[in-house]
Amino acid sequence: MLYAAVAVRSFRRYSTYTAATLAGIFTNSVFGLIYSYAYIELWRAAPHAGGYTTTDAVTYVWLGQSMIMTVAMWSGGTTDDLNERIRTGDVSIDLYRPVPVLWWYYAGDLGRATYHFLTRGLAPSLIGLVLFHIRGPATPAAAVGFAASVFLAVTVSFAIRFLVATTAFWVLDSSGIRLMSAILSMALSGMVLPLNLVPGVAGTIVNALPWASYVQVPIDVYLGRHHGTDLLAALGFQALWAVVLLGLCGWVLERATAKVVVQGG
């Protein structure tokens, strides 16, 4: 099947850069250490903040580090290729093929995310396990739910990155938009601080935005904070954003290809 072949090759492609992977794991682990000590102090001052125990909080840190590359928070997914190919006009080659561009890049990004999850995701978490005895998944249901939630997290983040990348059809340099998107992802995903710590209406809002799918939801699922129908509701929240945003991607792509000039001769 084509999309499986695309995903496998994308996985292989990222796996050729071993040095980058190792350097990345090192960086994630250093940040994991810094955040862990900061969180431990924070939870000493405010025990059970956001409903998390200190162990939960430290687990949150390491899982958060694991999610950074998996959801390509700073960019670095196949959507970067798309952005560059729109800028240079190479996207015309993608359009010459009898394959929907959206699914092509999505399949590639799933392959990439799988690779990043298994390396840049798993390795820092193992270090967290050794150094800080972070928790395992709360229940078998939480473990399965976490896998599903990570998949949906990648999908939502892919859709947002795809939308950002396609702005290159209209603006010549979309690096500003990409930077803004990366900052929004960091702030609103729960990566820097759990969104559950945001009080009042602001908290309700940030927990309803698509970025909550990136980190907050998968980790809460992992920690077993959602049970039964609540677990399904959490996954449903991510799935809803995934469907809405992918639909938007399809619409934008249609507009772009119908109207906009592919740049360059």
């Binding site: 090759r9 492609r13 050729t16 080659i93 592919v262 001769g265």
Partner: protein, 316 residues
């Protein structure tokens, strides 16, 4: 029934320009207009014109990635922009300056992906791949990542990639750009074979007129968005009122040669350059020169096609 049918095709682009802090002007640029031609199955057509003439715009419309502003366009009886995916299975596109291969993957992987993209059945894929790998001498390169290939090697890979699904039409955009003379020659030879054996229709845009001379029986010259010439390559010469040159090496230096039907353009020691209309025969001029002068050597230079085309652009 022609394979490619273009009638009164036009494409305008809206260009917005900022005049001041708030005001903007909007103007329309006609990239292509009143373009009409048709290409039959099995033809090899050169599509040439200066930069910005509308070549790429035309190709983009023919392949369906750009919607025409007006006019009629059919390729293999399909309407490209509406039936882009269907059409994509029947055409191949090669860009000299872009690659359809995957940069980080071995050549073999790109070919396998393309098999799946175009849903080529396994037996046919294997047969085609074997044939092209043989013809284009890619055997040793199949496991090399594309980023490590030289330009000539990558180009051969790209051509293979464009042909694995047996397209009826192959569009080539500057296929020989940057290649050395030997690679260019091999590529042209390959394209000739492809056309002769498989009947693949070729449409070639290029700045390298040797490509055209080597491959195309027919040339369409486009300038300022519309065709200014469409016909056999030989007719270009008449159209451009081009001249052939007779180079005469005399035994001794002499004043400029004067013979009827030719003009002496340049004298350098014993060597003189005479020009005469490309349509005229060289025989009487050679005879006249030989009758009146002591000639050591003679040679005739055919008109440079670039000069011919330059004249068309200037006149058009």
């Amino acid at each position: 029934m022609s394979l490619i049918d273009v009638r009164d095709l036009a494409r305008t682009f809206v260009v917005r320009r900022r005049n001041g802090a708030l005001t903007r002007s909007r103007s329309e640029v006609r990239a292509v207009h009143d373009l009409t031609f048709s290409i039959g199955a099995g033809e090899m057509v050169g599509y040439i014109g200066p930069n910005g003439a509308g070549k790429s715009t035309t190709i983009k419309m023919l392949t369906g990635i750009l919607v025409p502003s007006s006019g009629r366009l059919r390729v293999a009886e399909l309407e490209p922009s509406r039936q882009r995916t269907e059409l994509a299975r029947r055409i191949g596109v090669v860009f000299g300056q872009r690659t359809t291969l995957w940069w980080d993957l071995p050549l073999r992987d790109s070919f396998e992906l393309l098999q799946k993209i175009y849903r080529v059945d396994a037996a046919r894929h294997r047969r085609n791949l074997e044939e092209y790998v043989e013809l284009l001498d890619l055997g040793d390169l199949l496991d090399t990542p594309v980023r490590q290939l030289s330009l000539g090697q990558r180009m051969r890979g790209d051509i293979t990639a464009a042909l694995l699904h047996d397209p009826e039409i192959l569009y080539l955009d500057e296929p020989t750009i940057g290649l050395d003379v030997i690679s260019k020659g091999r590529l042209r030879e390959f394209l000739r074979t492809l056309n002769a054996e498989r009947g693949t229709t070729l449409m070639l845009t290029t700045h390298d007129l040797q490509d055209i001379e080597a491959l195309c029986d027919r040339v369409i010259v486009i300038d300022h968005g519309t065709a200014v010439f469409d016909g056999p390559l030989g007719d270009l010469h008449h159209r451009g009122e081009s001249r052939r040159t007779l180079v005469v090496d005399l035994v001794d230096e002499a004043p400029p040669i004067a013979v009827p039907g030719a003009e002496t353009r340049k004298v350098e020691g014993p060597r003189q350059w005479l020009t005469f209309p490309a349509g005229a025969s060289a025989a009487p001029i050679v005879a006249a020169v030989a009758a009146s002068y002591d000639v050591a050597d003679l040679s005739i230079q055919e008109p440079d096609i670039e000069d011919v085309i330059r004249q068309i652009y200037a006149g058009g």
